[in-house]
């Protein structure tokens, strides 16, 4: 698992600050919402109130930057059970999911 090189990091940050994307079609958004609730929910709870993973409610995420959160999804958190999702999700898709979390998600 190579870490991104610095110029890539810059690139990633640039992508991450782009607001909610237009490129994700409705079907993909449905898939991502489903993934968020059902699969992220396996560790973080269907109501995002936490489990083996921490709570991901808007209150719990308050004060954390969007870039940091997207980076956590993409690269995981070494030493914890949070895996890197980059093999399955693009930056854009992770960003879309983070935006949903920041608004509050219900099953």
């Amino acid at each position: 698992m190579d870490l991104p090189k610095p110029r890539w990091l810059l690139f990633l940050c640039l992508i991450a600050v782009v607001p909610a994307s237009h490129a994700l079609d409705e079907a993909r958004q449905q898939t991502l919402k489903h993934l968020l609730v059902q699969d992220c929910g396996s560790c973080h709870g269907l109501w995002m109130k936490g489990g083996l993973g921490p709570a991901l409610t808007p209150e719990a995420l308050a004060g954390k930057s969007r870039e940091y959160l997207v980076g956590t999804v993409i690269h995981g958190r070494p030493g914890t059970a949070m895996p890197p999702w980059k093999a399955l999700l693009s930056e854009e898709e992770a960003g879309w999911m983070i935006d949903r979390l920041l608004q509050g998600v219900e099953p």
């Binding site: 699969d39 396996s42 709870g45 269907l46 109501w47 489990g51 083996l52 059970a81």
Partner: protein, 397 residues
């Protein structure tokens, strides 16, 4: 004609009665073929039966069932459901109703029922520890806080709560790498034994069917931590050092479960973590004998009760598949595709059929384990765990 009309009227009245809440009058029935299905997103459960493969009732109001499990009273009448939100719910499977329900913690992972059926132990993430309840009243009898974290912010989270002979509960602490043994022979004065430094991040545990070995899987390093309950003074020993994520530390999209793990003769079948493999360990020398390549990251590796077959389901993105392993040849003999989100499976007590929960298709599927063909489907709302009452009489389930 008149007779027909009154018959129709009677059936309307009858079905009207059946819709009313509260205890339901039913013909006499026993409970050995009953089961409980968790409907995770709606906080409901279904009561099912596997003699004719049908659903008998739905019970709502069980809270957050994101990660829910159930155990059964020894008379197989009551189910105890452990919910993610700390809810402990006692269900009467003959009267289709909630008998008792307490919110005993803030965030729970599962639990166990004692050897004598009188105690229910619940493992909690928040507050980290184990709480033990009277199975009849759900009154709390003991509160066992887990080890505090070094920064004092909270206690370690508890995983792998199992019952063991001698009125014992065994459990592991994810954050601090411990196994605790709680002897409840004197329910008001439990004896605790702590085993420290058992390895990093135990994530789940199993008990061998004879109740002798408690084995915790490690997430934070390779290997399993084994405690011989016949010789606890020997302490926890490490086995299967090749077990785990290996050098590459592959991403793990879903924690494997060790419950329902499989043993056939001297061979034990375990999910590898992160790898697309089922590991085969020889229980005579506790060494790896083989590794079977499978279609994805295994989650549940469960033996048919006669242990001739092992059925495996997988983490996202391969969770639409099931693979069946022949335990004699150690080969995958069939790959089936029940549909997206196969979360759990449960064999009938003698194993001629297996029920699968197919979450994203909102359905339960019953498969014949000899022909490996689909027998029946039943509707269910985002089903996850399936638990048959035959678990009541098995150690460590």
């Amino acid at each position: 004609m008149k007779a027909l009309i009154s018959l129709a009227l009677a059936s309307v009245l009858l079905s009207g009665c059946a819709l009313q809440s509260g205890p339901v009058e039913r013909p006499l029935r026993a409970t050995g073929d009953l089961g409980l299905v968790i409907e995770r997103a709606t906080g409901s459960v279904q009561i099912v039966e596997h003699s004719n493969n049908s659903s008998l009732a739905r019970i709502e109001g069980l809270g957050d069932l994101s990660h829910a499990t159930a155990v059964f009273s020894r008379d197989q009448r009551y189910a105890y459901v452990f919910g993610r939100d700390g809810g402990l719910t006692q269900i009467d499977m003959l009267q289709d109703r909630i008998v008792n329900r307490v919110i005993q913690g803030g965030n729970s992972i599962g639990g166990a029922i004692s050897q004598d059926g009188r105690l229910i132990a619940v493992g909690n993430y928040e507050p980290g520890g184990v709480r033990v309840f009277d199975a009849q009243t759900l009154d709390m009898l003991a509160d066992i806080p887990a080890t505090p974290m070094p920064d004092g912010s909270r206690n370690a989270r508890v995983v792998g709560v199992e019952d063991a002979p001698g009125q014992q509960f065994l459990f592991s602490l994810f954050d601090t790498g411990e196994i605790w043994q709680a002897d409840f022979s004197q329910p008001t004065a439990p004896q605790l034994t702590r085993f420290e430094n058992i390895g990093r991040q135990p994530y789940d545990a199993l008990l061998t069917p004879d109740g002798r070995y408690y084995i915790a899987g490690l997430f934070g390093e390779d290997g399993l931590a084994k405690l011989d309950l016949w010789n606890p003074q020997q302490g926890v020993t490490r086995v299967l050092d090749g077990y785990g994520r290996g050098q590459e530390a592959l991403p793990v999209y879903k924690m494997p479960h060790l419950e329902g793990w499989a043993q056939a003769g001297q061979l034990m079948f375990l999910p590898a973590i992160g790898q697309h493999r089922v590991l085969v360990m020889n229980a005579e020398n506790w060494e790896q004998q083989a590794a079977i390549k499978v279609a994805g990251q295994p989650v549940f590796v469960m033996a048919r009760p006669d242990a001739r077959q092992v059925w495996v389901n997988f983490a996202f993105p391969d969770n639409q598949l099931i693979q069946v392993i022949d335990t004699q040849s150690l080969q995958v003999i069939k790959t089936i595709e029940p549909g997206p989100g196969v979360l759990h499976m449960e064999f009938t007590p003698r194993g001629e059929q297996v029920w699968l929960s197919v979450r994203d298709r909102n359905e339960l599927q019953v498969w014949d384990t000899e022909t490996l063909e689909l027998v029946k489907t039943l509707p269910a709302q985002t089903p996850s765990g399936i638990f048959f009452s035959s678990r009541a009489h098995r150690i460590g389930l």
